[in-house]
Amino acid sequence: MKSKKLTALLLTVAMTASMLAGCGGDNAGGGDNAGGGDNAGGGAETSNAPETEGGSDETASSGDDGNKDIIDFTMFIAMPGPEINDGNEIQEIIAQKTGVRVKETWLTGQTAAEAVGTIIAGGEYPDFIDGGDGQMALYDADALVAWDDYLDKYPKLKAMYSDEEWDRFRQADGKIYWANIFQNTYGESKATTHNDEAFWIQAKVLAWDNYPEIKTLDQYFDLLERYAEANPTMEDGTEIIPYTILCEDWRYFCIENAGQFLDGYPNDGSVIVNTDTMKIEDYNTSETTHRYFRKLNEEYNKGIVDHEFATQTYDEYIAKLSTGRVLGMCDQWWDFAYTVNDVFKQQGLDLKGCNYVPLGLTIDEGMDNMWHTYGDTQNTANGVAITTSCKDVDAAFQFLEDCLDQEIHDLRFWGVEGVDYMVDDDGLYYRTEEQRMQCANTEYKASHLCTYSYLPQYLGTSSDGKNAMQPPEQTSEFFAGLAQPLVDCFEAYGVTTYVEMIGSVNKETGPWFPMYSFSNNMTTETPGGVAWTKMGEVKHEWLPKVVMSESFDGAWSDYMTAYEGCKPEDFLSEMQTELDRRAGQAQ
């Protein structure tokens, strides 16, 4: 007992000490913020002291010397996200240049709808808001300022979208209230990674078979089977898992929607839009989906598909991938790659060819695939908005405008020149290994970097015509991070990037794309919404069951019976109405 108490005491003392030391450190770091209080915590107190919940701190009354005109705005983002420190260095630089500082608050431990509901009930809004799934509720509550009277005064902001694109943001009353800030390309696209869904395969598996052409689902599983037979374990003796499927909670898209892509359609998410007939089609019941699940079932019974796939959690899935045991899976890049690639690098598995490359599979040979869509996907369901509580709407719009200024944009995403990135003789930005490490560090991100990630931004090419708007898209940055087996793999297929690797056709998507921006916002108020929710529940239960069944046909027909019971026709007809509306609006 005594020694336990002692240990506890020591630990407490150590922690208190490092905590105090930490504050000293922060203070030293924020030197240019001289009058801002003794430490980060204290600084927050002084600047927020006269403020009440949700109120906007209009008065520039923070103790900072010499920058009396800085307006402090608040912003609530109904998504989880990383908080930055008060007195963040780049935030201060931006504040000096634009006269605006935005304090971001993120969603914590609630659903977006719940958080927005509470804020609306309270009636006091932050200056900026991105309501996420609760965005419509904000509009309904008349909480947002219409952009129509302002947009013309701010050319850069207006230039974010074409008139036609802006029109898609119009609400029932014909006005624009928000702009989605993601996936918006300026100039030429610099995309090198395929951020979306694909069947992924480890580069070493392709290398082992001398980089064969893999075009169909059958060829894909055939390769996995052959490789698994020849190499049942990894070098260290761990058993390999040829194929796994994530189907935890909302991430079950990994099992659910491959049918639409295998049929050669783009990611409308919940339905297929047949462009010949302009009719909504249900991919859940399509012949291709049927064949896809039959294949999965066959491979499951052969032992190729991970037998624990249906019960694994996301953490377990990522852990499996990280060990390099898993040869392939269907997933979206952002769902696994950031974490898994970090581990590969740390463990040296990237040099052994464990990194995943995307394959643009279709169900039969000779079909075009649209796994990658080249144009921007404009999600009109939510975005940054200015609320009626904002006391200086003009300044708020001016700040949105300033966010798109190239200098500010570079500060947000690249950082400070010479500190966070270098410029070579050709004017190209690059990061040293040390800078790359630093910019990935959590504390550095909080104390130094300030991306304002939910305010207007661009992808693509910078206005200088050379650099990428955001570092991950910078060609040199991309190649610097590419392990040798990937370089070999790309070379063998005669491509240079992930995007070229997947080889999707560059076909423009219709003005209705993506349809999921409508289905995501459906509620149980309409029969279609009820059907949509029920279909989700049925698929959650049945898709893994179908894959794991001993007799596929019986399981599939049971599944279809359950599925029909959800009245998918209600859902489809509402989707059809929306498709007609979107297509009609575009004309």
Partner: protein, 311 residues
């Protein structure tokens, strides 16, 4: 303790009121407090009879009568989640209740003071871990390569690995176990405190009479903590519909969703994430009604049999 006699004693007379003026004033203050903080928000229950929208608020939303209740009770899924909630609630109630009492009594029998304190402190530590951590460890231990499968295979209980999370029949026991794991030590605190209130001289006297350990537990310890047991039992009976949310949500998956979903998960799927506040409120009213009915029945039974009662 016959009721009639008590009643006579408690007759409201001016004299008696005057006598306990202080108590009445205090009680009144507590009633005011309770009314403001617990009963006033119940005005929000009118949401269940409205199509509540944040824009129109509590006072101007459209009235829809009993539509939300009709929706709930005509949905086979809701009936199923009631069953799941009741089942898990009851299993959890019984197991955690018994386990906490047994643990408290056995711990009390540990004569080594240091050991006793140590066990006591360690046992309540898991209470401070979040469900996400505890279920993460549990998921790990029960996976096909986890320790449980390893042990079961080693000792020859099973020939091939069991995927515990793929079978509906394992789900409720797993939830019950995780509750026990996390909360037994915490739940035992109250009984340990009650045991200390037992007069030590009773044990001494019993020892002199030659009573053994079991006799002392049975005739002194258990009766000593019986009022606490009764009160907690009654309170928990009203909580069977609060079988939880997080454990089931994290441990559940598509294969077992028929048995894993509770009322709270249903409300999340069909209410909160659909911007539908009214449905959740309706489900909440239903839960409250059931709880209060259960409590009234349980309390009546307790009173009839002369046991400690809530009111």
């Amino acid at each position: 303790m016959s009721r009639g006699k008590k009643k006579a004693k408690q007759e409201i007379t001016w004299k008696e009121i005057k006598r306990q003026k202080v108590l009445l004033i205090w009680a009144a203050l507590f009633v005011i407090y309770g009314f403001i903080f617990y009963y006033l928000p119940l005005g929000g229950w009118i949401m269940a009879f409205q199509n509540y929208k944040p824009k129109t608020g509590l006072f101007h939303s459209k009235w829809i009568g009993l539509d939300k209740f009709k929706f709930l009770f005509s949905d086979a899924t809701f009936i199923r989640v009631i069953r799941n909630t009741l089942a898990m609630g009851t299993i959890n109630l019984v197991t955690s209740f018994i386990m906490a009492i047994v643990f408290a009594i056995l711990l009390n029998e540990v004569k080594n003071v240091l050991g006793k304190k140590l066990v006591q402190t360690i046992s309540y530590l898991p209470h401070f871990l979040s469900w996400i951590i505890v279920t993460g460890i549990l998921h790990d231990a029960l996976s096909s390569t986890g320790i449980v499968n390893e042990l079961l295979q080693k000792f020859g209980f099973i020939s091939s690995q069991i995927n515990f999370f793929a079978h509906e029949s394992y789900f409720w026991p797993i939830v019950a176990f995780s509750n026990l794991w996390k909360e037994t030590g915490w739940n035992a605190i109250i009984y340990l405190a009650a045991i200390t209130a037992i007069d030590p001289s009773l044990y001494e006297a019993a020892s002199i009479d030659g009573a053994g350990r079991w006799a002392k537990i049975r005739y002194i310890t258990l009766p000593g903590i019986k009022p606490t047991i009764m009160i907690l039992l009654l309170m928990n009976v009203g909580n069977v519909l609060n079988a939880g949310f997080e454990v089931q949500y994290i441990l559940g998956n598509g294969l077992v969703q028929k048995v894993s979903q509770t009322i709270d998960i249903y409300v999340l799927n069909w209410g909160i994430s659909q911007n539908d506040y009214s449905l959740g409120t309706a489900a909440g009213i239903f839960k409250s009604a059931v709880s209060i009915v259960l409590i009234l029945i349980a309390n009546r039974i307790a009173k009839r049999s002369g046991e400690e009662s809530l009111f």
